[in-house]
Each structure stands twice: as structure tokens, then as C-alpha cells.
């Protein structure tokens, strides 16, 4: 392929590399083609049909995520034909399940029978837990469609709540397959896949057992990629809408991989944790500890005051008193028994800055090199 390989998108020419899809070229050039099923790093499936575009000379619309760019293609991403197709696709998706955001018929100002039924099924007085953080809802607004156009599906599978971390709400699943790709192609835990056929299609574990009895190790990658409310953190479900949350980027505190995480904070509490998707080393992936093991932060067992032991019992003390006592005793032991009678154990859990200060204190103030940490243990 020559260096001058190019395609035209919405009237503008763009070069491309061999192997790039139409969606790749568009994303690279900041052209917004919506998609519900595309997952970076995984094989394109073309499952959702939202990313269709019009290619001049082609008989029908093509899925941009699964169509390789080839020289001189002329593409329209928002032509009337494309928009009509997306509207129909979205209407079908919205009517396929319990998508009870205001999108679905709220002209009268009252909640519809449908919305009330969904709330009863969900045991909540709120609208869908993904309200405000849902790709399907975003697109319904963008293309001004509702689920009223088609009759809703009956016989939706019941919600799975029996594991401690993940709620699987099949009534809101749009079968985009991102969770399947995340589990099989990103984390390679191979716990879930498409099951059954036709209208009965459902995302299942081997034998359609609950996650807790499957190969699932609760990394939660499926929740992170789910575009709707089919997979939600059990703990954070209905806890907070995205605009209530402050997101703080930091580094996970568990193993040495150093995954980049976002702490989602509301009212000085960490509500949930997600992976940072655009940064090394983890590109959004986390494990069960990193994603769900944050409750120690707000544990009532946290120490909140300096403690001094007297007659075998601890009593609370001021910083002034506790630090004064330790400084006095360390000084006495250093000066009477020698610097090497004192040892310091620092930690693989605290920061570089804190380790630095601990060793500076040991060497410059205590005047000993008796400092170590638990790397050996």
C-alpha cells in the first residue's frame, strides 16, 4: 500500500495505515462515530450496529468498527440514511428491556406504568442506576428516540444479586458483548460468554450458574465496560449519580503492579473504584482487591488518636504528649545504650517520601543504619 492511502470522511481526506478500520481512522481524527459494543484491544464484533456509516458505492450501510479502510473510500458518518438506521437500532435496544430513564415516554409528566413496574422489579424508587452515566441514554438523547415505538420484551431473566460485588441485571442488558470481550480477550478469565439462541440469548457462565459458582474472579472489568446498567457494582448501585462524584486519580495500594485507579468520592467517602483507561500499566484493568477492596479506608476500626499504654491498657493522648514521650525515650536510649540499640522498620506500604523521611531520621537523628522493611517477608 502506498504512503498516500487515504479515505474521505464527511468531505475531509484522512490518511490511514494498513489494517486500520474506518472507526480507527475516525477516532484518531476526533470524528465522533457512536458505538455501544466497541472495546479497545478486543476483536470488533459489529454486534450493536450503532457505528454504521454510509460508504459511497456500497449497497448497504457498513459497520465502521469491522470494516477495514481501503484507498479512496468516501464515507458519510451522519447521513440521513445513517441517522435513520441508528434511530431504529436504538429504538429496538430501548424497547428490549427495562430502560426506564425519562427517555421512554414521560410526556405526561407522570411516570408511566412501565417505569413504575420497573421500579417495583428493582426494589428502588429511583430511575435506572445508570441514569446519567449510560451510553444508550446518551444516544437516545442524541438521536431523539424512545422505546415506545416497539413492543417491549416479556420474560426477561431475573436479576442476579447473590454475589457480593456485581449485580447482573439482565433486564437492562443490550447484548453488546463488551463484557464477554473484556472477560475473554482482556482479562482472559473466560468466565462468561453468549448463551442460548435467538430471542433467548443471554450472557451466561458455564452451565448458566451464578457468577459466584463460576470461574469468575470478580475483577469487575465487565462492569467497567458495560455501557448500560446491566452490570453495576453492588455496593454503589443507586448510591451516587456521576455529577455527585469527585474522581481522583491515584495508584492502587495492593500489589506491585501499580494499577492506575480513579477513586470516586462523595461526601468525603470513597464510593467506588474504577481503572484509568488511558494510562499504563493497566489501561483500565483491575483485580478484585483493587476494585472492591477499599472499605478499609472508612473502617470504624481505623486509629484516630495517638495511644499511650499505661498499666497494660491504652489511653488516648494528644500528639504533643505522645510525640514528646517517644522523643524523650528514644533520646535517652540512644544516648545511654548507643545508636545501634535502636531499630526502625519502615514499610513497603507507605510512600517513597515517607520511606525517605524514615531513613533520614534513622541515619541523621538516631545515627544508626538499623533500618529495614518487609521486602524479605
Amino acid at each position: 500500500m502506498s504512503d498516500s492511502s487515504s479515505i474521505t470522511i464527511n468531505g475531509n481526506k484522512f490518511s490511514f495505515d494498513s489494517g486500520e478500520t474506518l472507526l480507527d481512522v475516525a477516532v484518531r481524527n476526533h470524528i465522533d462515530i457512536p458505538t455501544l459494543c466497541h472495546l479497545k484491544g478486543a476483536t470488533p464484533t459489529g454486534a450493536c450496529r450503532v457505528c454504521v456509516v454510509e460508504v459511497e458505492g456500497a449497497k448497504s450501510l457498513v459497520e465502521s468498527c469491522a470494516t477495514p479502510a481501503s484507498n479512496d473510500m468516501i464515507i458519510q458518518t451522519e447521513s440521513p440514511k445513517v441517522i435513520a438506521s441508528r434511530k431504529m437500532t436504538l429504538q429496538l435496544l430501548l424497547s428490549s428491556g427495562n430502560h426506564n430513564c425519562a427517555i421512554r415516554g414521560s410526556d405526561s409528566g407522570d411516570w408511566t406504568d412501565f417505569q413504575i413496574r420497573v421500579q417495583q422489579e428493582d426494589g428502588s424508587t429511583d430511575l435506572c442506576p445508570a441514569w446519567g452515566d449510560c451510553r444508550l441514554q446518551d444516544l437516545a438523547y442524541r438521536y431523539q428516540v424512545s422505546g415506545d415505538h416497539y413492543p417491549g420484551d416479556e420474560d426477561l431473566s431475573p436479576m442476579e444479586r447473590v454475589n457480593p460485588f456485581i449485580i447482573r441485571d439482565f433486564s437492562r442488558c443490550i447484548l453488546c458483548g463488551k463484557c464477554v470481550a473484556a472477560c475473554n480477550e482482556i482479562q482472559v478469565n473466560e468466565a462468561i460468554d453468549f448463551g442460548y439462541r435467538g430471542a433467548s440469548t443471554k450472557i451466561i457462565t458455564a452451565g448458566d450458574r451464578p457468577l459466584k459458582d463460576s470461574d469468575c474472579v470478580f475483577c469487575g472489568e465487565c462492569i467497567q465496560v458495560c455501557p448500560v446498567a446491566a452490570l453495576v457494582e453492588k455496593d454503589a448501585r443507586y448510591d451516587a449519580r456521576p455529577w455527585d462524584l469527585k474522581k481522583v486519580k491515584t495508584t492502587c495500594t495492593y500489589c506491585g503492579v501499580g494499577c492506575q485507579i480513579l477513586l470516586h468520592v462523595k461526601d468525603n467517602r470513597v464510593i467506588k473504584v474504577t481503572g484509568v483507561e488511558d494510562a499504563e500499566p493497566n489501561f483500565g484493568s483491575l483485580c478484585v482487591k483493587g476494585r472492591f477492596g477499599f472499605h478499609f479506608i472508612h473502617s470504624p476500626e481505623r486509629l484516630t488518636s495517638p495511644l499511650i499504654k499505661e498499666n497494660g491498657e491504652f489511653r488516648e493522648a494528644s500528639w504533643e504528649e505522645a510525640i514528646g514521650l517517644v522523643a524523650e525515650k528514644l533520646t535517652h536510649i540512644r544516648d545511654s545504650s548507643g545508636p545501634d540499640s535502636i531499630g526502625v522498620l519502615t514499610s513497603a506500604r507507605i510512600s517513597n517520601e515517607e520511606n525517605y523521611i524514615a531513613q533520614k531520621f534513622t541515619r541523621a537523628v538516631l545515627k544508626t543504619n538499623n533500618i529495614d522493611h518487609c521486602a524479605r517477608l
Partner: protein, 538 residues
């Protein structure tokens, strides 16, 4: 890390996590990667599933990773030097080694060749229990790699021969020219978020930051001048495994412990507890009243990672930011603030406005961190060594040459583990972690969901051994070693090999380390957590 430092001049993961994707053969040994480093394990699994990379797992336990492996070798506990030497025996004998690399970049090949000569696959089968044909096949597979990646963890280091084991892996990688290339390397996976940083920041008795020896007069002088003090010690201090026993003899009178829980993590816990009880002063600084903190004379409440700014250095030497997201509970304070306040009361002024100001001082004193600052790592971290602000960092170590010039082969003979089974203690015990918990469990056991998945300790045992010792799956049994006893629930599992049981060490109420042996590796002072003799009784 002493093993790698002796071989290459630098004791850290040679390659990066992202790099793993490019390997065509993996040798993973002593690492239960899917449970202890789950996200990193995905890189390995993806390479196997989508890039046709081949995975060799060498581990006594049938860990989850073996499901992705082309070859699974199951050595007897503590026989690592023997099988690694045998791989090299085959590779040299069949002329499969990288002669150019060996000639131009290494010292000591003749001595290595001589020592591995006796480690024939047949001889090693008798030591390790690995079939000789499997040894030959694994040797050919690793030697045939264009980019061979070695991954290891505590299953290699927590032995009396841990340093020897690591040197042996370094030998193997050098022999096949797998250093200084993408997708290759010798990669120790760090189990705790900032082990690398704690070492880099000289939470070690023999070096200043960036591994500058305390015995070197120039380094000592540089630090005294920067810190404005005189009379610092030029003698290496005590390791944790020496410090705690010396408390027993009264040589150590005070210990200041920051964020550690040695009363669950130390070997031979009963003895460790006795040692600490004899101190004149025990100060513990932590976020919880841990088993160790309960013994303290003074406890300081500190803040956790979500409540502070700073940096961690991950297993691939990448220095990354942590950021304050929430306010700490009560009067809890930053660890550095607490230590600085003690210093001030002892007459030495240590005042910093924030963590960034401390980091600047670190950069000034530490050549490998010299070019790293907070603005540069705002979005993504940088791999040290990074000597100046225009340097991009060093994702792959040892390209072209080692920091010590040529790499050193070490001729290493096999030494059996320190403790043997006998009639009274007929089973071997090995310890480790499960995916749902972390280290001594002080953090993960505060999440109800993690406890639901993994509520209590267990003793994993093969069905044959369970039958032989009359142990019923799911019942509580006693496990005893020459040092202590605990209770745990029997878990009959295909993961276990006959003759060896496994117990996780997260659970203080059934602390596996009451059983373990405090025998140490003579170089690294790492205890032999991975092998001791026990009996299991219903």
C-alpha cells in the same frame, strides 16, 4: 534482590509489564500470578491466547496459570537450583545457547559450564521429581525463544537458597541472551505496592537512596552535608530478621515500626512475639491497631493511601503519583509528618511543606531519580533510572551493557531445604496468598465481600494425602510444626501435590507463620517461608 544485583549490577525487574506482551516464551516459576498479580497475569494470558506465546509453569502447586501453560513442571519443594541447572545443562550440551551474548557480555561461563555438567536430566529427575524428558523439552522451548521472559516471585526467593535460586535464573537468562531486549528479561514480581520504592528509598540497612552504599565515604559525606549533620554511621545496620532476635538478647532496646505487622508476617511468630515483648520501647505507627500495634508502648495513627499525596514505585521501576482523595479520620496524620515531629523534638529540624518538597530532596540525592519530578509524572509514571530532566526514563535495563560492565555467571550447587520431613512431621508446608486477600489481611479483611469469598484460613491438601491421614474435606484440623500449631479447615484440592500442603498467611487467628521456619538465606536474610515440615491431625 541480592541475587540479581550480583549478576547484573541492579536488583530490579529488567523489563516492563507492557513489554510482557511481546515475549514468545514465558518461564513462570514461584509466582501464583493470577492470584497475586492478576492484572499482570492478563498480559501473559493474552500473549499465550492471541500471540501464540508458549508458557512454561514450574511450581509445586497446580495453580490457575497452569491452565494456560504449554508445559507444567512440578518440582519437589526447594529444588529450584537443581532444575534450573539441568535446563542449562541441556542447553549447553545441545549447543542451544547464545554464544555471542555469552562471549561479549558475560564473565564466568566456564565455571558455570563445569558446575551444571553433573545436573543431567536423569540425575535431576531423582532430586526434583520432574521427568527428564520434560526437563529436556522445557530447556529446548526456553532456549528456542527469540524473546524469553522469566517471571518469578516469592516462591523462588523465600528459601534458604533464595539468592542462589535468583542467581540461577539470571544465569539461564544470560545463557540464552534474553537480557536488554523487549519481551525478555528476568522479572521479579513485587508483591507489595511499594516494595520497590521502599528499597529505592533505602529502607535498607546497607545503602542510601538509589543503592548508594553507606560504607562509601563519598556517599556518607554527601548525605551529611545535605542533611547538615555529622557522625553518621558508616557500618551497615541490622536486617529485620536480625533485629527482632536481638531484641531478645537486649542488644536492641527500642524499635519504631511504621506500617508493618511483623507479628503476622514474621517467621516463627511465637518467638518473634517473645522478642518484641522484651523491648524497653516499642512504637508502632499504623492505620489499624494491628497485632503488632497491640504490643506497642505508643501507637501513632497514620493516614492511608487515599488520604495523602506522594509517590509509589511499582514492580517495573515506574515512579507513580498517589493523590489525596478524602480527609483522614480523627487526628490521623501523614507518616512523614509524625517522623519529622519526633526528629524536631530530638533537636533536629525536619520541616517540609508537603510531599512534593520531600520528593525534590530525594531527586537531589538520588541519581536514578534525578530527573523525576511531580509535573513529569502527572499523567503517567517514569521508569528509573532517569538521571536528568530530559531523560525519558529506562523501561528496559541492560541494553548493550550491564551497569557493572559484563554480567556475572555464578556457578551454583544444589543445597536441599533447611528442614526435612520425618516420621513425626511427614508433610511439607508451603505458604502464600489467595486472590481475595492481601498480605496480613489488615486491609482486605475489612471488605465484607472479600471475606464472603474467602472467610477463613484453610489447609489445601491432595486427595491422596487426605485419605492417608484420615482428613475429611471441610473439617477443622490441627496443623503443627516443630515451632507451633494452628487450626484450619481442610480443603482437598487438585492444586495440591502429594506430600505438600499449602496454607495462606492472611489470617492472624490461624497464622501460618506460627509454623514456618525462621532459617534464613545467608545473603538476603529472607526466611524460608516456602518449605517446612508439618503434621496434620484431625
Amino acid at each position: 534482590m541480592a541475587g540479581l544485583a550480583a549478576a547484573f549490577g541492579s536488583g530490579a525487574m529488567t523489563n516492563t509489564i507492557g513489554d510482557i506482551a511481546e515475549a514468545d516464551v514465558f518461564l513462570a516459576t514461584g509466582t501464583n500470578t493470577t492470584e497475586n498479580h492478576p492484572v499482570l497475569s492478563s498480559f501473559v494470558k493474552r500473549a499465550v491466547k492471541f500471540n501464540n506465546a508458549k508458557l512454561i509453569v514450574v511450581d509445586p502447586r497446580r495453580i490457575k496459570l497452569t491452565e494456560h501453560a504449554e508445559m507444567f513442571l512440578r518440582p519437589n519443594l526447594g529444588t529450584d537450583v537443581a532444575w534450573i541447572n539441568s535446563l542449562m545443562h541441556v542447553i549447553i550440551k545441545e549447543d542451544l545457547y547464545d554464544k555471542k551474548f555469552v562471549d561479549t557480555r558475560t564473565n564466568g561461563f566456564e565455571e558455570l559450564k563445569k558446575i551444571v555438567e553433573k545436573f543431567t536430566p536423569d540425575f535431576v529427575e531423582s532430586i526434583t521429581g520432574i521427568l527428564s524428558e520434560d526437563i529436556i523439552a522445557a530447556a529446548k522451548m526456553y532456549a528456542g525463544a527469540e524473546k524469553g521472559c522469566i517471571l518469578y516471585c516469592m516462591g523462588i526467593t523465600q528459601h534458604t537458597t533464595g539468592t542462589d535460586n535468583v542467581k540461577s535464573l539470571a544465569n539461564l537468562a544470560m545463557l540464552c541472551g534474553n537480557l536488554g531486549i523487549r519481551g525478555g528479561g528476568v522479572n521479579p514480581l513485587r508483591g507489595q505496592n511499594n516494595v520497590q520504592g521502599a528499597c529505592d528509598m533505602s529502607g535498607l540497612p546497607n545503602v542510601f537512596t538509589g543503592y548508594q552504599p553507606v560504607t562509601n565515604k563519598d556517599f556518607l559525606k554527601k548525605h551529611e552535608e545535605k542533611w547538615g549533620v555529622t557522625g553518621m554511621s558508616d557500618q551497615p545496620g541490622l536486617t529485620v530478621t536480625a533485629m527482632v532476635p536481638k531484641a531478645h538478647d537486649g542488644e536492641i532496646k527500642a524499635i519504631y515500626i511504621i506500617g508493618e505487622n511483623p507479628l503476622v508476617s514474621d517467621p516463627d511468630l511465637n518467638h518473634a512475639e517473645e522478642c518484641l515483648s522484651r523491648l524497653d520501647l516499642l512504637v508502632v505507627q499504623d492505620i489499624f491497631l494491628t497485632e503488632t500495634a497491640k504490643m506497642a508502648d505508643v501507637v501513632f495513627p497514620s493516614v492511608c493511601f487515599a488520604e495523602k499525596d506522594g509517590t509509589f514505585s511499582n514492580t517495573e521501576r515506574r515512579v507513580q503519583r498517589i493523590r489525596k482523595a478524602v480527609e483522614p479520620p480523627g487526628e490521623a496524620k501523614d507518616d512523614w509528618w509524625i517522623t519529622c515531629e519526633i526528629a524536631k523534638r530530638m533537636g533536629y529540624d525536619m520541616t517540609y511543606e508537603n510531599a512534593e518538597e520531600i520528593f525534590k530532596e530525594i531527586s537531589e540525592l538520588t541519581p536514578s531519580y534525578g530527573g523525576i519530578n511531580y509535573p513529569r509524572i502527572e499523567h503517567e509514571g517514569i521508569h528509573w533510572p532517569c538521571p536528568d530532566e530530559n531523560h525519558p526514563g529506562t523501561p528496559i535495563l541492560h541494553i548493550g551493557q550491564f551497569p557493572i560492565g559484563k554480567g556475572n555467571f555464578h556457578a551454583i550447587d544444589y543445597i536441599p531445604p533447611a528442614e526435612k520431613t520425618d516420621d513425626e512431621y511427614p508433610l511439607y508446608l508451603t505458604t502464600g496468598r489467595v486472590i481475595y486477600h492481601y498480605h496480613t489481611g489488615t486491609m482486605t479483611r475489612k471488605t465484607a465481600g472479600l471475606n464472603e469469598r474467602s472467610p477463613e484460613s484453610f489447609v489445601e491438601i491432595s486427595s491422596d494425602d487426605a485419605a492417608a491421614y484420615n482428613l475429611e474435606d471441610g473439617t477443622i484440623v490441627n496443623i503443627a510444626s516443630r515451632r507451633g500449631r494452628i487450626k484450619a479447615r481442610v480443603a482437598v484440592s487438585e492444586k495440591a501435590v502429594n506430600g505438600t500442603v499449602f496454607i495462606p498467611f492472611h489470617f492472624a487467628e490461624a497464622a501460618a507463620n506460627k509454623l514456618t521456619n525462621a532459617a534464613l538465606d545467608p545473603v538476603s536474610s529472607i526466611p524460608e517461608y516456602k518449605v517446612c515440615a508439618v503434621k496434620v491431625e484431625s
